[in-house]
């Protein structure tokens, strides 16, 4: 809804459009990223740090609601564990989650191969 940058060349998408497209691109990938790390139980903050350490930065305000949605979809199981004086919510993949992860991984590999080929041919590779 923002105004286009007047300095931008004609036809250049405004910064906001690129940002929106990038978010859409990442939106699907983030689910697979989370599922890939939850074979072993992990809690929200720990998972965020684990993903960040591997180059996948996800805002906490996005990650926690996403974990909850995956739990509601039956892909993650949850358990509150009291450590020290306070409880933490641990998530781990359910059988349905493992199945979904395997399928998403297969789809990702196929799409990545196709897209890499498309981009390589477009760039004259």
């Amino acid at each position: 809804m923002g105004k286009a940058d007047p300095r931008a060349a004609p036809g250049t998408p405004p910064e906001e459009t690129i940002e929106k497209l990038t978010l859409e691109l990442r939106r699907g990938v983030i689910v697979l990223a989370c599922l890939s790390q939850l074979d072993e139980p992990g809690y929200g903050y720990e998972l965020q740090q684990r993903l960040a350490a591997r180059g996948m930065e996800i805002e906490q305000g996005t990650l926690y609601p996403l974990l909850r949605r995956l739990e509601e979809q039956g892909l993650l199981g949850e358990e509150w564990i009291v450590e020290g004086s306070r409880p933490r919510k641990y998530y781990r993949l359910t059988d349905a989650g493992k199945q979904a992860r395997a399928e998403l991984e297969r789809q990702w590999n196929e799409m990545a191969a196709v897209l890499n080929a498309l981009l390589a041919s477009e760039n004259g590779g």
Partner: protein, 341 residues
């Protein structure tokens, strides 16, 4: 810790009640984890503010928690919606008060019939409020559909200051959807009751003379009392909507409205039974009188059950404000906000 509670409440107040309890626990645990990882103390407001700023604005986080449901007006637009409704209703009441004053000045007190004029003014205000709320809801629903975000969402990351969050209100907070639904429902009830009352008054001369006292007491007086109850209820919901919480006086107004409505519904069969002897002596069939008695008992029982049920539900909502159980999602919760990464 107070800032954490204010933040948690600011997020969960925008969610459906059935989600709140669990999300509250999750958020507290997440915030404490983030503080612990920084080696920071939950007692340090500056440290907590830094963690909360990273977590994101409450309306945006709440929107992430509700992507499966469809909002008519989502959490991001709702604060602005509430302000617009508040200003519009206040303007409407102020304009009516000015109109009342001008009429008094121009017409003088001699011909002034206070009761009639007040009822007309009240009807004007409530009709106006109903139309205004419907129009505002339609405009905001269009904005929601068009994915328009309020100006605060355009702020650069990190510029939001959690210390500006309002004080936590606990279980006394008013559920936005309940307030809007309550306001609209009572305004609609008032318009319908107005029609019934006028119809009964106009039809009175054509009704058999023996039934007129019954119609006057059970229907016309009953409708008038229900109108008073509806006005009280609408006022209570409007106050709660604008203030964002139920205060003792708005709660008392709502309880008084419920009590008055229950009184009316209990009174209906009582009036019929009281007048039964006169009806039986008149030229009315026994079956007609019997069906009148039964109908009045059914109407009285259904009305009483409805009012008591709604009252108990509202009370439970208050008592269980932090537990996560409560009423079903309101009509406002009909569309999905956009997710963000």
């Amino acid at each position: 810790m107070d800032l954490i509670e204010r933040y948690v409440e600011a997020v969960t107040a925008k969610l459906r009640r059935k989600r709140r309890g669990e999300v509250e626990k999750e958020l507290r645990a997440a915030i404490l984890d983030a503080l612990e990882a920084r080696g920071a103390s939950p007692e340090s407001e500056a440290d907590v503010a830094a963690v909360l700023a990273e977590l994101g604005e409450p309306s945006a986080v709440a929107a992430e928690y509700e992507p499966g449901s469809q909002y008519l007006i989502g959490p991001e637009l709702y604060p602005l919606f509430r302000r617009v409704v508040g200003v519009t209703l206040a303007t409407l009441v102020a304009a009516s008060a000015v109109g009342l004053g001008v009429s008094l000045l121009l017409g003088g007190l001699a011909d002034f019939r206070a009761g009639e004029f007040l009822m007309d003014t009240l009807e004007f205000v409530l009709r106006g409020a109903l139309v205004a709320v419907v129009v505002i809801v339609a405009v905001f629903a269009w904005l929601q559909r068009s994915e328009v975000k309020p100006a605060s969402r355009a702020r650069p990351a990190g510029r939001w200051d959690p210390r500006t969050l309002p004080a936590a209100q606990g279980p006394e907070r008013a559920t936005r959807s309940d307030s809007i639904v309550g306001l609209v429902a009572t305004a609609v009830a008032l318009v319908i009751l107005g029609g019934i009352g006028r119809g009964a008054t106009e039809a009175l001369p054509e009704i058999p003379a023996v039934m007129r006292p019954l119609v006057r007491h059970a229907v016309i007086d009953g409708v008038m009392l229900l109108q008073v109850a509806a006005v009280l209820s609408a006022l209570a919901h409007a106050v709660a909507l604008v203030q964002g919480r139920w205060r003792p006086y708005s709660r008392a107004m709502r309880l008084a409205a419920d009590a008055l409505a229950v009184f009316v519904f209990v009174r209906v069969p009582v009036e019929v039974v009281v007048h039964r002897a006169a009806l039986s002596e008149a030229d009315l069939s026994r079956n007609f009188v019997l069906s009148l008695v039964l109908t009045s008992i059914v109407i009285g029982a259904i009305g009483t059950a409805m009012i008591v049920g709604m009252s108990v539900r509202a009370w439970r909502g208050r008592a269980g404000g932090r537990s996560g159980s409560g009423p079903a999602p309101s009509p406002v919760d009909l569309a999905a906000p956009t997710a963000r990464l």
